[in-house]
Structures are given as C-alpha cells and as structure tokens.
C-alpha cells in the first residue's frame, strides 16, 4: 500500500509527465491560454490515459505476449488509443452532454497526445502489474492536469504583463515554463522508485 502511494506521488509530482519527462507538450503550449480549457483538457486526458493504460496492458499481456507479436506493439497501441478516444467520446456524449460540450474538440486531439502513448509504453516497459499500471497512469494524468491548470493560470496573468516585443508569445511562455519546471524540481527526492 505504502509503495503504491509513493509510486503515485512520484508519478504525479517528482517525475511529472510534462515538466520532467517532457511528454504531452503540444497541449501544454497549445491549450493553456485559459484556465477552463486547460482544466477540460486535463479532465479528458485523465480519463483517456487511465482507460487506455488499462486497455494497452490487457492487449500487451493477453494478445501481444501470448502470441509473440511484440513487434506490432507501436501499431497496436496507437490503434487502441485512437479507439479508446472514440469510445470515450461516445460514452461522454451519452452520459453527460454538458461535459461533452465542454470538452468539445479536445477529445479527438488526445489521440496525438504523446503523454498517453508514452505512459502506456512506460507501464509496459517497467513490467508493472495491472493495478499498479492503472494507478500509475491515473497519477501521471493528475500530475498532467495539475501542471496544465497552474500554467494556464500563469499565462492568464502573463497576457497583462508588458513583455519585450521579441519575447512575446511562445518565448516568454517557455521561459515561464522553465521557472515552473525549476519549482517542480523541488519535489525530487520524495518517494523515488
């Protein structure tokens, strides 16, 4: 139990997918101009990342390893993720139309979020168990959402700041991200695995 908890803290904060592993930087730079869109993206990604890690784990163990098809891993995983995204889009539309409207175009975009594929591959490479894989994916996704929301908050304030012309837009956002990454380095040493 304690090990699982430490593993989750490590996945969410210490080895944060965005700031330490550099996975999923496209939505990090792309959809963090407002807090509510960043939160929506975080929520959708949390759902997809957890669910697809579950599916990918099952496929890896009962299909690819059982029939010695390891070389098809990349192709299979990307298809599993694409269908997971499609499936969650249908479920969310049925279950909660208001959430569906809020997430809007962000759902299909998750297919090309490298954090989802990256976490699935990390889980398989580390040979984690089923429960550990789900918890790892869920904690990583929480860390992802946390940083998305913090960064969106920073960027909302950044719009009001006076920035030298050459630095406006992407460069200043990257420099702010650098400072945020420095802050997250403060977590290193907690619950290392």
């Amino acid at each position: 139990m304690k090990e699982m908890l430490l593993m989750m803290v490590s996945a969410a904060l210490v080895n944060n997918v965005l700031l330490a592993r550099f996975l999923g930087l496209c939505p990090f730079m792309g959809v963090t101009s407002r807090i509510d869109t960043a939160a929506g993206m975080g929520l959708a990604t949390t759902f997809v990342m957890t669910f697809s890690a579950m599916m990918d784990w099952t496929v890896q163990h009962y299909l690819l390893e059982a029939y010695d098809l390891g070389f098809l891993r990349i192709v299979t995983f990307i298809l599993v993720i694409a269908s997971t995204v499609q499936f969650s889009e249908m479920v969310i539309r049925k279950v909660s139309p208001s959430l569906f409207r809020m997430l809007g175009i962000y759902l299909p975009l998750i297919t090309t979020n490298c954090a989802v594929l990256g976490v699935a591959l990390l889980v398989v490479d580390a040979k984690m168990g089923f429960l550990a894989s789900i918890l790892f994916a869920f904690a990583s996704a929480l860390g992802f959402s946390l940083v998305m929301i913090i960064f969106a908050g920073l960027r909302e304030r950044l719009v009001l700041a006076q920035v030298p012309g050459l630095f406006s837009g992407a460069p200043i956002a990257l420099i702010v991200a650098s400072l945020l990454a420095m802050a997250f380095m403060g977590f290193s040493g907690i619950g290392t695995i």
């Binding site: 550099f22 098809l72 891993r73 990307i78 298809l79 490479d125 050459l166 990257l174 650098s178």
Partner: protein, 225 residues
C-alpha cells in the same frame, strides 16, 4: 523547378522550421537535447521517418480517400516507426538505449503528420520526398543546435560520446570547450530545455528582423536614386 526546390529547402530549414517557428515536435526536442549527439541522433531518426512516410503517402495519394486519411496516416507512420525502431535496435544499439521511449513516440510527433496532411498527400513523389528531407534536416538542425547549446553550457563538452553512440568514425568531433567543473548543471536538467528553446526562438526572430530590415533598405535604395 529548381527554384521550387530552393523554396522548399529554405522553408523546411528556416522559415517554417518545425521547432523554432511551428512549435511542432516539442517533446523530443526538449527531452533528447541534453547533448548535441543525442539531439543529432533523435533528429536523424525522425528524418528517416518523415522521408519514408512522405514517400508512401505521396505514392498512394490517389487511393487514400478524404474520410479515412487520418487513420491511414497514423498506420503508415506507426509501421515506419516500427521499422526504424528495429533497425536502430540492431545497428545503433547504444543510441537506441539513450533515446529509448522517444523512438516509438515519433508516431505521435506532429511533424511527420503535418507534412503528410498538408504536403505529401497532395503533391507528386519527388517534391514530397525533397520536402520531407528538408523538413527532417530542419528538425535535426534545431535539435543539434539546442543540444549543442545545452551541452556546452551544461557540461562544457560538445558531441561527447559521439564515437560511442554513432560509430567510431565520429571520434574527431568530440571536444571539450570548458574545463571539467565549469558546467552549469541546470541547463542539462529539464528547466534548461524550456529556457534554451525560448531564447533560441528569440534569436531566430532577431535574425529574421535584421534580414527583413536589410531587404527593406536594399529595396529602398534604388527608389531614392
């Protein structure tokens, strides 16, 4: 026609450089630029995938219909990435171990996808391959530059371990520019990646601004005379 290729080259390498102007493919360009050698290796792996996918998509552009194109692009790039992954595992095993997770992740790199969607699915074979080549070279250039800046400031070396990762022939480019303990460690750690990319984008804007001003002056002179 050669003029077209010149435009393709200039666009791919500089004007719409994947990393510095389009902000595509950010994940590998941050994670794999702790040294110039890693950046170069990552760039070359992506280059091979971009050329191969551009070639295939352009070859089959008449049979790929609009509705299913995204799925086909994804499968094509997943297959090519698998090939590159296995080839690197076999022939460049040291480099393969360093790049690790980021080789399979080329599938979800936006850069090959962007070229397939906006260029090679509409253009003949030769321009598509040339476009893929220069887009890939631009990406390699960006990653090597970022890697070089981070490595020189961070550990004081340039192209360290090149002979180990790329082959013994690359021994000559390994060099040490700063003494052993002069490195600023933060540049190799994650914050350095964001910082260096931010500053390099500013540098690119500065150069663009300069050349634009020079072009304006050049065009202004004859009208005065």
């Amino acid at each position: 026609m050669s003029n077209d290729f010149k435009t393709l080259a200039k666009d791919g390498l500089w004007n719409r450089n994947g990393v510095f102007s389009m902000m595509l493919g950010l994940c590998p360009s941050m994670a794999m630029t702790t040294s110039a050698t890693n950046g170069f290796g990552m760039g070359m792996a992506t280059l091979v995938v971009i050329i191969a996918t551009s070639f295939l998509v352009s070859l089959f552009r008449k049979v790929i219909t609009q509705e299913v194109r995204i799925a086909i692009f994804v499968v094509i790039s997943a297959v090519m990435v698998t090939v590159v992954d296995m080839a690197m595992n076999a022939w460049l095993h040291e480099l393969y171990k360093v790049l690790g997770l980021f080789i399979p992740l080329i599938v979800v790199n936006c850069l090959p996808m962007a070229r397939m969607e906006s260029f090679s699915s509409k253009q003949p074979l030769l321009p598509s391959v040339i476009d893929g080549l220069f887009t890939g070279l631009g990406f390699t250039f960006a990653l090597t530059l970022m890697g070089a800046v981070r490595e020189v400031i961070g550990s004081g070396t340039l192209f360290a371990d090149a002979s180990l990762l790329l082959g013994p022939a690359f021994k000559v480019i390994e060099m040490r520019l700063l003494p052993e303990d002069m490195g600023v460690l933060i540049m190799i750690l994650p914050p350095g990646a964001f910082l260096v990319l931010g500053l390099l984008i500013v540098a690119k804007r500065l150069i663009d601004q300069r050349s634009e001003r020079r072009a304006q002056q050049a065009s202004a002179v004859p009208s005065l005379a």
